[in-house]
């Protein structure tokens, strides 16, 4: 069951990067919801947690979006399977630690995942490749409205939706966009951007949330506040910050190309050469090299269709995915060899970098 999910050739994040998706890798929205009159998961008894799952799962699976989806109980997943789901951003690390009644429901296209008994009873997440805040908001809002018809969510007319942690109180909405910002990083502007963005109530984190590094020049940018603003206001404010960040990033790239042409071509060329010829690559290094390949596509050094391949490799080169594909338990060192083998194979089918074509279109 999970095998078909992992190997699904139509999974959103591994397949669907549009050519327009320079800078923005993916958009995720999540709503925190809790059933009224039942303790939050951290306070609930085992049987209560179990009841929560039964009740929620039934009602969720009745919705059209989830009809052909799957449900996985955390207690039935192996460590490796959990890791793969985390790497796909379909579940959180926190969910992995809970057992009784903790589960995730995932739709066929992997655009929607609903965690049950994580920090809240329900964490409804919709995700999509590219920059899609408004369209995803429409979908998740409709889904939530639909679900509310059968489930009675804890809601206070003063505070809005009640959540286990006060930081999610109100809308329960976290909108989060995964951005690829190599231009700002290599021109040393990222710190300044983070400070400016923070002052607007927006959080910047690494690829896997709080405390994680910005490996591969990838940053998660999301709203800090959930209270005191409507969902539309939250999304509007985030949208504006993201649009400004995209502009900064594009400017930084072209400025860097103008001032440090050789150095930029050098970094891209070396990344390509190493991906095509190395025999041991760590997950971190792979992300950083792939980042330059995404930049190469953005700069027209590689045909547009390779952006999808690079984005897929971003996910497939994560430790869990490498381990899962190997089918047998392998040591971290062997993982680096398997990863390099995979990358060499993929890159040997890629055309040479077309440096004459650099930056011809923005």
């Amino acid at each position: 069951m999970i095998e078909s999910l992992i190997k699904n050739e139509r999974a959103e994040l591994t397949q669907d990067a549009k050519s327009s998706a320079a800078v923005v890798l993916s958009t995720r929205l999540r709503l925190a919801r809790n059933l009224a009159e039942i303790p939050f998961p951290g306070r609930a008894s085992k049987s209560q947690r179990s009841d929560i799952l039964t009740k929620c799962a039934q009602n969720i699976q009745d919705l059209k979006q989830m009809k052909s989806g799957a449900i996985f109980k955390v207690s039935e997943l192996t460590e490796l399977e959990k890791q793969v789901l985390v790497e796909r951003h379909l579940i959180s690390r926190e969910l992995c630690e809970n057992k009784e009644g903790s589960a995730v429901l995932i739709d066929r296209a992997q655009t929607c995942s609903i965690m049950v008994n994580e920090e809240d009873h329900l964490r409804i997440q919709f995700l999509k490749a590219g920059f899609n805040l408004k369209s995803i908001w429409k979908k998740i809002d409709a889904f939530d409205t639909e679900l509310e018809k059968s489930l009675n969510f804890a809601f206070s007319s003063e505070f809005g939706f009640l959540t286990a942690c006060p930081t999610n109180l109100g809308t329960g909405l976290r909108a989060s966009v995964m951005m690829h910002l190599p231009g700002l990083v290599i021109s040393n502007q990222m710190e300044r951007v983070i400070r400016a963005v923070n002052q607007l109530g927006i959080t910047v984190r690494g690829l896997f949330g709080e405390g994680s590094d910005a490996t591969g020049h990838v940053f998660q940018i999301s709203n800090q506040q959930t209270l005191g603003e409507s969902e539309a206001e939250i999304i509007d404010r985030l949208s504006n910050v993201l649009k400004a960040t995209i502009d900064h990033e594009i400017n930084a790239r072209f400025k860097y190309l103008e001032l440090n042409r050789a150095s930029l071509l050098d970094q891209i060329g070396r990344a390509y050469g190493i991906l095509k010829n190395a025999h041991e690559i760590s997950s971190n290094e792979a992300m950083n090299l792939l980042s330059f390949m995404r930049l190469a596509v953005d700069f027209n050094l590689l045909p547009d269709e390779y952006r999808t391949i690079v984005d897929r490799l971003f996910i497939e080169c994560q430790p869990g995915h490498i381990q899962y594909a190997a089918q047998v338990g392998i040591e971290p060192e062997a993982r680096d060899i398997t990863r390099a083998d995979k990358l060499r194979e993929e890159f040997n089918n890629m055309p040479s970098l077309d440096f004459d074509n650099i930056g011809k279109i923005a």
Copy 2:
């Protein structure tokens, strides 16, 4: 005149690496000789130095080997031309600093160079690609004997040939072999080898003599003593040490391949990928990457004929050669770009590394 020398397509060191030349890049022998009754160059007056040059040049140019050779006065060479000759090991850095009467005579094939008014009146050098101590000794000995017929060398029956510095007294012979020792370097055995070799009266230095780094895993190994032994004994002892060193190096390579296969393939693969795709490469980095390409040829990852190309690039990627080829004065930074352009071009004509064929013959 010097242009045709630099661009000579039959120059020994840039063209003649034999397929048997794994480990040993080239062999050089030099004899220090001084005219009797005339002060050493450091003590001679300008007019004496000038007379020395006139007298020596005439007699040297009369010898068959030098008939179609060229003579360059140091005072008439540009800084760049001197640097190119140093990089080809045809003159020493010391010669460049002397002016009055200092010159070099070089034969057509660049196998023989005779410096006049360096530290001694004459420094006769014969060099050849590959491991050729004995055959070169025969040639330089015959040349010296021939020259002695017309020039009266300072000789003491007690000390042998007299030289400006006592470290050259006696035979005046320095036999020096340029060795490529990546196996010993990457397996961290080089320090031990240097200590052992030193105890046998043999000196180990970097690519450009005393105090220079072993860039490109290249080491100059030469006799320390010139006094108290015959030339044949000196060459025999050095030969034995070199043969043992070659064995150590070959063993180190196969041992490393056995124990660290992925790491070795990784280092070779990355070097290949970078040489083929980088846009800025310093001279030092180029040497180190090319070293792995020579190793790739030795391990059958590249066809044998590419050893000559790699050896040529070892020379042509030196700063002076890059600058000279550019025809115009360029800054060090631009040199790194020109070097990378050259390497990309050369490597784009190379076949892919054939990893399936590794180490099939020793």
